[in-house]
Symmetry: C2
Subunit: 192 residues, 2 copies
């Protein structure tokens, strides 16, 4: 099991003492998943936080029979449906592998145990939740105030991996526009 990237990602967020890291390794379970496979289905309760060793994920929901992409995630990023994870309500969307991916899963029970044993780990959990909240807040403000073209330029700036590795038609629904329109925006942006 490769855990170096996870440990490095954690240390980038907040320092954790070696004993806490050791205890964390005990609760990890690895999971390999192929491109296009579903990781978590809409309607299930989310019981894990996952870390992406390699690969890419997306989550999406449905609107009028069509898939709407909510967000994309890549190697060295954490992901969970924080809402479902906490409230134990069923998830409202489906999580799928965009590429063959190698994941590390941390179950809720194990995490709660770590929270009780290590204050530093509780701090880590809080910081991850806060990042989650902040990025949700930013997305909300952006959707509220920016044009599709501005949103696409932001994406190029801040999340170039999305533009490089996610098919255009998925990015389109993520931005709330049609693939045709995104294609035209891209032409315009490239030529300018």
């Amino acid at each position: 099991m490769h855990t170096e990237a996870l440990i490095a990602a954690i240390q980038r967020i907040t320092p954790i003492e070696p004993e806490a890291l050791d205890a964390m390794l005990d609760i990890l379970s690895p999971r390999q998943i192929n491109k296009g496979e579903v990781i978590w289905n809409s309607g299930e309760v989310c019981r894990h936080i996952l870390f992406i060793n390699s690969g890419a994920l997306r989550y999406f929901y449905y609107k009028g029979g069509k898939e709407i992409n909510g967000q994309f995630f890549f190697e060295n990023e954490f992901f969970t449906d924080y809402y479902s994870f906490i409230t134990r309500e069923p998830m409202g969307f489906t999580t799928e592998a965009l590429e063959d991916s190698s994941l590390l899963l941390m179950p809720r029970s194990g995490i709660n145990n770590l929270y009780e044993r290590f204050k530093s780990f509780e701090r880590l959990g809080r910081l991850i939740a806060e990042q989650n909240f902040i990025s949700l807040h930013n997305t909300r403000v952006d959707l509220h105030t920016k044009t599709p073209e501005e949103l696409y330029l932001d994406l190029l700036q801040n999340r170039p991996l999305v533009v490089q590795r996610v098919p255009l038609y998925m990015i389109a629904s993520y931005l709330g526009i049609t693939p045709e329109h995104l294609s035209r925006i891209r032409r315009k942006v490239v030529s300018s």
Copy 2:
């Protein structure tokens, strides 16, 4: 100082023992504010959670010189810029009284103190933060998937106070449309 509504609102969320409630009363400070007055300015760090005894608030930010309303709050509701409150980064928006209002303010220092002394109070804080997160999540999904007309109908259903007590042109920017367009949507909805 009127604290009955606050206590009732708390008990609706989670039971809190009398000693913890007493301790909480000690950290409260009341504040009267007139219609149109600013409560918190953009750029300040948010140091309080507030409870609305009576009146109404809104928060808004700017886009191209125009005010964009983020959310509206009424009597018996809590409000804070959760992001700024936690990270101590400056707030990105301004909070203002929509009506003459009577507020109760809880300072962060006092709240942290209560968290340490009473486990039940920590639970309350977590639940309020979660509600905050959930409503942000829902807003995000709605802005992503619904038409302005659907958003307005949702508002009528779920937050009728907004429609009753907030001027139309403020609701328009909240929904991401112009006042003219909202006026036409309203005409259409009423006549059907």
